[in-house]
């Protein structure tokens, strides 16, 4: 019998989106001095959500000054246990306002409410709890030296996990005694602005956290500002390279978390049903807008046909549509520009001779949408096997032996993550030793924990976020 799920939309009533937002500088929302206004839209409907300020150079300067003042007057001098108190308070408020944060994130980003509710927001709060615990134990985090904070951190984060990336950046920086100026992505500023309200609610001393919205110009002004001691960036490899060049020789500490083209390696003795789930989680989680997405499936030739037919069967049950519907698995593409890039690279994939397949699915008429897509017959030489698509597009390649799997997996200028699926424990360890990737998942994919460091090799960036390692980036 046909079992149709009735619409189950999460209510938007809990969220109060203002018509216009200022910049959060020195503990208050202020109008930009030399900036302008821009609009942020709901990618699922193209509805304009709010007007947001783009910080100009003088606004950036004011924010850095505010952070410097808070650093020297308050935050640097505060005992670790006191800083922890604020971080715990922020974490608890995030939990209390979890539903509000989740709904806002889904509206502004396009990701399914199930993900923002069950993954993004709980993990973001968990990062604050985790680093709150370190704030008075920094001497134990790094062996053999008395740690000191760096000063003012300029942080630029991407649009794929707006709140979670904020937490990854802000929590360790504050725990270590730094103050921050954070710039969220121009397409997803709203959850960061709600976080600014949470900082006010937590009575965080003014200037410890400053949030300036804007696009690339604002970000450039921030990372190049002389008053910034530390630059932390998550985003594209292209921008990451520009940042590395611009801060070279400035004495600023830098961590970069950039792109990826992760291999998800499935051996013939894998737990097949769970491997199929892992492939789906790997590439269709968050519409594939994940830097560590398992965008290259490497499957052993002896089971390739079987794995593919199971994968296709499974993809027919994926539910694509309204991000606020609690049963949606795949939401909207974040922006028109990103949709264009996904379309362009998919067209290249077809032109290069790979076979394109998508499950039958109806896409909404308005908004930015792309169906879950699988390319088979992909070779290492194809662009869709080498370039980051950052969308719900999987490239399937095959291998014959474990050594070939390692060679193919490592044959990428990136090196952020990898997955290994096999029932054999010894093979997992053998693979993990050889894969050049910052994270290697075994019989799972896209699992995150505040205690576990995350970061890349080669063009995927440098430095680690999360865990004890994540503190190192904010201490000298």
């Amino acid at each position: 019998m046909k079992f149709e799920y009735a619409p189950a939309p999460e209510s938007r009533a809990i969220v109060d989106i203002k018509s216009s937002y200022g910049l959060f500088v020195g503990g208050e929302f202020v109008d930009p001095v030399d900036g302008h206004r821009f609009k942020t839209v709901n990618p699922a409907t193209e509805e304009v959500l709010a007007e947001v300020s783009a910080a100009g150079p003088r606004d950036v300067d004011a924010a850095v000054q505010a952070a410097r003042g808070a650093y020297t007057r308050t935050w640097q001098r505060m005992r670790g246990a006191e800083r922890a108190k604020y971080l715990y308070r922020i974490a608890r408020i995030m939990q209390e306002r979890a539903r509000e944060l989740a709904v806002l994130e889904s509206i502004d980003n396009g990701k399914p409410i199930r993900e923002s509710r069950d993954v993004d927001v709980p993990l973001a709060a968990a990062h604050f709890f985790y680093y709150a615990g370190w704030a008075d134990k920094l001497g134990y985090a790094l062996s053999g030296r008395e740690p000191r904070p760096l000063g003012v951190a300029g942080q630029v984060i991407p649009w794929n996990f707006p709140l979670l990336m904020l937490a990854w950046k802000v929590a360790p920086a504050l725990a270590a005694g730094n103050t921050v100026v954070l710039k969220p992505a121009e397409t997803t500023p709203l959850s960061a602005l709600l976080f600014a309200e949470i900082c006010q609610q937590a009575d965080l001393p003014p200037g410890v956290v400053n949030i300036i919205t804007g696009a690339g110009d604002t970000g450039r002004a921030l990372v190049e500002h002389d008053g910034v001691d530390k630059v932390a960036f998550t985003g594209s490899t292209e921008v990451g390279k520009q940042i590395a060049r611009s801060v070279a020789g400035s004495g600023k500490k830098v961590t970069l978390e950039l792109g990826g083209k992760a291999a998800n390696v499935v051996f013939d003795d894998a737990p097949i049903d769970q491997a199929v789930e892992g492939i789906v989680d790997g590439i269709f989680f968050n519409q594939g807008h994940v830097c560590c997405a398992g965008s290259r499936l490497l499957v052993q030739e002896s089971v390739a046909e079987d794995v593919l037919s199971r994968l296709k069967y499974r993809l027919t049950t994926l539910r694509v549509g309204d991000p606020l519907d609690k049963n949606t698995d795949v939401g909207a593409i974040n922006s028109a520009a990103q949709l264009e890039r996904i379309r362009e690279l998919s067209a290249v994939g077809e032109a290069e001779g790979a076979q394109r397949w998508s499950p039958p699915c109806e896409l909404p008429e308005r908004g930015y949408w792309f169906p879950p897509t699988v390319f088979t017959g992909v070779s290492q030489a194809h662009r869709i096997a080498r370039e980051e698509i950052f969308g719900p597009v999987l490239s399937v390649l095959t291998f014959r032996t474990p050594a070939e799997a390692v060679d193919k997996a490592n044959n990428s200028p990136y090196g952020l993550s990898a997955g290994v699926w096999t029932d054999k424990g010894s093979r997992i360890l053998w693979m993990a030793q050889r894969l050049r990737a910052g994270v290697v998942w075994a019989n799972t994919f896209n699992r995150f924990d505040p205690g576990s460091p995350f970061g890349g090799y080669q063009e995927s960036g440098y430095g680690r976020e999360g865990g004890r390692h994540g503190l190192e980036a904010y201490l000298q």
Binding site: A6, A8, A270, P271, N327
Partner: protein
């Protein structure tokens, strides 16, 4: 023996035609190679998938549909030492007309009783369409000789049982004597005649998902019409991940052989919410063809009243107290 379950394309032509099943089951060694060649189940991943599916939000029209479907697939069960003809007749009355105040409530699929009460149940259900299922084969432990198990089965069939719920020999399964388990099932199937055979794996005693998958295939290769999780006498019984592993097994078995086998979780499903979660699991694992009393059942006793209570709330907008639903 090829690693064939791993080489079965879903939704394409069968790769294990039923005449080849004979080869697979011909010796203990071939059967063992086959069962141990099935892909493993990763416990963490299987449980995560079931947990994710249990977050599906089933509301309004979907909930109404699911509640009625859940009622219509119940095997309304009483399996107590204290069962009497009176108790069974009460159960049968409820099975045919679950809510005396509302004729639009569907009847359940079957009643499930001990063999000596089959005749009573048969008389009480009459031509209503509600089937009579009987446990057999020295239920629940199955610790008896094959002759006793067959006599137990024959007894229930002779009394008119439409369906037989047998237990497998878990002892033999756990020591790896798969053919002994298989021969039991084959013999009972033969004794069933036209009655449909449900094979109870008693997953709480098999302990691992790998074992659940192997036992599912073993039962299907032996000719089971249904595979069933539990007797209800051992905990844990029907959990979502266990039902999921069994649904994957029937899905793959159909793809491999072309033959469709049903699934029956039993034991521990007490609320409408639990039942709906199972229906979601069926829908997204095996597919909608299994959403039918012929291919999916839930063995339960207290579940029915919760479904009725939820159903009434959906029409009246409020909950009635427990006194407004019949005790059985």
């Amino acid at each position: 023996m090829p690693h064939y379950a791993g080489a079965v394309p879903l939704l394409t032509e069968p790769t294990l035609p039923l005449d080849r099943v004979t080869d697979v089951v011909s010796t203990d060694a071939s059967l063992r190679r086959f069962l141990h060649g099935l892909p493993g189940v990763d416990q963490v991943g299987a449980e995560a998938r079931a947990a994710m599916l249990s977050t599906r939000s089933i509301k309004t029209a979907a909930k109404q549909f699911a509640i009625d479907l859940a009622i219509s697939i119940i095997d309304l069960t009483t399996l107590e030492g204290q069962d009497t003809p009176g108790k069974v007749r009460t159960l049968c009355a409820k099975a045919q007309r679950p809510d005396p105040s509302d004729a639009s409530v569907p009847a359940v699929a079957a009643v499930c009783v001990y063999p000596d009460l089959v005749a009573v149940a048969k008389a009480a259900t009459g031509p209503s369409g509600v089937k009579v299922a009987s446990v057999a084969t020295a239920f629940p432990s199955g610790r008896a000789s094959r002759a006793v198990k067959l006599a137990d089965t024959a007894d229930a069939v002779a009394a008119g049982a439409d369906e037989i719920d047998m237990v497998i020999d878990r002892g033999a399964f756990l020591v790896g004597r798969y053919r002994a388990v298989l021969e039991d099932i084959v013999a009972v199937k033969q004794a069933c005649g036209t009655a449909r055979l449900k094979v109870i794996l008693e997953v709480g005693e098999l302990a691992t998902y790998d074992n659940v998958r192997r036992a599912s295939w073993l039962a299907m290769l032996a000719g089971a019409d249904f595979i069933k999780t539990s007797t209800g006498k051992v905990q844990p019984a029907a959990t979502l991940p266990v039902t999921q592993v069994m649904l994957e097994a029937v899905r793959d078995f159909r793809a491999a052989t072309g033959r469709m086998v049903g699934v029956k979780p039993a034991g521990g499903i007490r609320t409408a919410k639990d039942a709906i979660r199972h229906l979601v699991l069926v829908n997204e694992t095996a597919g909608e063809e299994w959403l039918d009393p012929r291919w999916f059942r839930i063995g339960a006793s207290t579940l029915l009243n919760d479904l009725l209570m939820q159903r009434q709330r959906m029409t009246t907008g409020r909950y009635a107290g427990p006194d407004y639903f019949t005790v059985d």
